[in-house]
Amino acid sequence: MSFEPKILGIACNWCTYTGADLAGTTRLQYPQNIRVVRVMCSSRINPSFIFRAFQLGADGVLVGGCHPGDCHYNTGNLYARRRLAVTKKILEFAGMEPGRFRVEWISASEGNRFAEVVREFTEQIRDLGPQTQFKISQ
């Protein structure tokens, strides 16, 4: 059986989650490997959420937030940008493939873009193969 990656999405309520809904409303098709957790703002994402997701067996993690400047909470995503950038650097220095963790700004009107990013990311993770480094074997 071919490898079906597990992808965790974490999306902010106001932009990316709404954009993902729009992708549905407009019936855009994308792979079903992504499972989205809704948070109110991308700034809610604790770096440990990401580390934990990989330990729980996620093959890839995609974070979505409002475009910088459009944050529902004004500046939340500007903090998130810095904090998640550091998270990414830590993962990479620990030895993880850089492609497994990705942050994208997707607005509520960009259903198309949400679908596109998910398609592309899923392909990328499929190519990288299963994530075994962090995963805690049961």
Partner: protein, 649 residues
């Protein structure tokens, strides 16, 4: 142990077509703590809702999971079902298997598998949910309006007419703002005073408006619905409760100072009213110009005042008012163009800025409405220079928006009042507005000369020393123009009031790079700010004309009304709180919060959160290294549990 009910919706075929809903319900029944799991055609229909309500009672459910469309669609609907059944509404979880599952795949196996994973996550999260209660607070029914220009006047009157009590704070001794300085308004050329002074008078007369001139906001406490605003009444040295506005004092006063109202073109007395139609029409003493304050002798005003209203001992006083909402309408200043040495403002007497020219046209102005130069002569040639400091990276990048139109108005008035030749030096003519293009055409036909090229330099004429020359390129012909004129009018950049930064700090408003107040959303919330309950109107937000300002003022009044019309309001329940036992006093939360909700309690040595200000974004929780902050409804363990569930299958 919780008792969870799972309700899977078919949404007709919308879901059922690509998710095997009955299989999903059967799967749900196998998950921990799930005591009942059902599927139904339309869960949001009345029978669907009744089924949930019935099962809550029948199965003594303490958690409900609805597996249906996006929470953005029906979360509220189902929350009401829970509330009606005696269950806390925050114990509801929605699993989005329509927008994010059934509609985005054609493969029923894939759809079903993903739905199961999502549901698994939801069950794990639901077990950890806690009931939340929104705090309900009383709402102060009054409104504060800051700034007594046309925006503030309009907003105050609109609100007062609905029966709400309004405090209108103005830092000057009269209301009216810049509009009261104008003679005519574009494009209709109706008299500014004729349309404004009745409104000013209504403010004074209105039983619901408390007019606070010579006042400034000095402290803001509280939050939406419950602001405590401290207002400083600056000493006027005239007891306005006694003064009968006979103005005998202003006649006798020997003290002189430049008239701010007339843009420094003339002098006024030390005890004065700024202009004849000022509201209130009672004088104040300018301490810096008063002979008594300077030399300790004089008191002429006191001698002539029959009402005994003069009070040299008066001090600043402070009062606190309670309001539910605030409208900020603090207006604008013109950029100080002296820094642009190439235009010679402040150096050549023939160079004027736009507001000075407004005063020259005004019949109550320094020249009685005659257009004369500082030496009393009538100008023979006049150049109006657009975009001075606006649209300019070295100064202000924004377009000041009204200059094109007022420059046309000036041209018209110059033509009407003098026999001068009038030239406009412009980059682009911007006449987008009702009747504006027509006005532009009218001015062209009045034989005003339009030179398409930004004025580059103003200098003294070499041949006629009392005249000026304007240098520019006419970019249409590519010719260098050296134009002898008697008068140059600069249209300077419109910028926020010098003290806008203080106002921003007081009300916790964000500003753009130049200090204009930021709206919450440029399109969908143009009058709201990041501070709940504080609204903005007029040029303090960005340059705009009078019609737009008035429209904004009405809009801001309506926005404020939506708050103060209620007696009580519910605060956000999904706020953050600090667990003091874990707080390490790093104060990261205090540093990052866009709303200023967290604060450091020095006495206890821990951070605390003012829940009334919290909007529930969760930023503070993620920057809290010892996880001492609990972001309600999105707690660390809730999110982790959901992730665990999602990634299990």
């Amino acid at each position: 142990m919780s008792r969870i009910g799972v309700f899977v919706c078919h949404c007709g075929l919308n879901i059922a077509k690509t998710v095997r809903v009955s299989e999903l319900a059967e799967f749900a029944a196998t998950l921990p703590d799930v005591v009942v799991a059902k599927d139904y055609k339309f869960m949001c229909s009345t029978p669907g809702q009744e089924m949930i309500a019935h099962d809550i009672k029948a199965h003594r459910l303490d958690r409900v999971i609805v597996t249906a469309c996006s929470p953005l669609m029906h979360e509220q609907t189902f929350r009401k079902v829970l509330a009606a059944s005696g269950l806390n509404q925050y114990l509801l979880t929605i699993v989005n298997i329509r927008e994010q599952v059934s509609w985005v795949t054609h493969d029923i196996d894939e759809g079903t598998a993903k739905a199961k994973a999502l549901l698994n996550g939801a069950v794990r999260r639901a077990r950890l949910l806690a009931p939340l209660t929104s705090r309900v607070i009383d709402v102060n029914s009054d409104v504060l309006v800051v700034g007594g220009g046309i925006a503030g006047i309009q907003a105050a009157l609109e609100l007062a007419n609905t029966g709400k009590k309004v405090y209108l704070v103005e830092k000057n001794s009269t209301i009216g703002g810049h509009m009261a300085q104008f003679d005519k308004t574009f494009p209709t050329l109706d008299c500014s005073a004729c349309i404004l002074t009745p409104k000013m008078d209504s403010v004074l007369q209105h039983k619901n408006i408390t007019l606070l001139t010579s006042c400034e906001v000095s402290e803001v406490k509280g939050f939406v619905g419950n602001f405590d605003i401290t207002i400083r009444q600056k000493a006027r040295y005239v007891d306005h409760t006694r003064c009968n506005a006979c103005l005998a004092c202003t006649e006798k006063c020997p003290g002189k100072a430049v008239s701010e109202w007339d843009e420094g073109l003339v002098k006024r007395k030390a005890i004065y009213i700024p202009f004849p139609q000022a509201v209130p029409q009672k004088p104040v003493i300018d301490r810096d110009a008063c002979t008594f304050f300077k030399k300790g002798k004089c008191r002429l005003c006191e001698k002539v005042c029959e009402q005994k209203a003069i009070d040299f001992e008066q001090q600043d006083t402070f009062t606190t008012v309670k309001v539910g909402a605030v409208i900020v309408a603090t207006g604008y200043d013109l950029m100080d163009t002296r820094a642009l040495i190439q235009y010679g403002y402040g150096k050549y007497p023939g160079v004027y800025n736009a507001l000075e020219v407004e005063r020259l046209f005004n019949s109550a102005g320094p020249t009685g409405g005659k257009v004369t130069l500082r030496d009393g002569k009538e100008p023979q040639a006049i150049a109006i220079l657009h975009c001075i400091g606006s649209r300019d990276k070295n100064n202000y990048e924004h377009c000041s928006r009204v200059c094109c139109m007022y420059s046309l108005k000036f041209a018209h008035l110059f033509k009407e009042k003098t026999s001068a030749d009038v030239y406009q030096f412009y980059i682009d003519m911007r006449a987008a507005g009702k009747g504006y293009e027509e006005f532009y055409n009218r001015i062209i036909e009045e034989d005003v000369k339009f030179i398409r090229g930004k004025g580059a330099r103003v200098a003294q004429s070499a041949d006629e020393p009392d005249r000026l020359v304007v240098e520019a390129e006419d970019t249409i012909t590519g010719k260098f123009i050296r134009l002898p004129v008697d008068m140059v009018v600069l249209s300077p950049a419109i910028i926020p009031r010098g003290d806008a930064k203080d106002i921003a700090r007081l009300f916790n408003l964000s500003t753009d790079r130049y200090g204009f107040f930021m709206e919450r959303h440029p399109k969908l919330a143009p009058l709201s700010t990041m501070s709940e309950g504080v609204f903005i109107a007029g040029v303090c937000q960005s340059p705009k004309d009078i019609p737009d300002t008035v429209a904004q003022a009405n809009g801001a009044a309506a926005e404020a009304l939506t708050i103060v019309v209620k007696d009580k309001m519910e605060l956000e329940a999904t706020t953050a709180m600090v667990n003091p036992a874990s707080c390490c006093a790093c104060q990261n939360c205090v540093r990052v919060c866009p709303y200023g909700a967290p604060f450091f309690n020095e006495a206890k040595g821990v951070s605390e959160i003012n829940e009334a200000l919290c909007k529930g974004c969760g930023l503070c929780a993620s920057v809290c290294p010892p996880s001492a902050i609990i972001a309600r409804h999105f707690t660390n363990d809730q999110v982790l549990a959901e992730m665990e569930g999602l990634l299990e299958f």
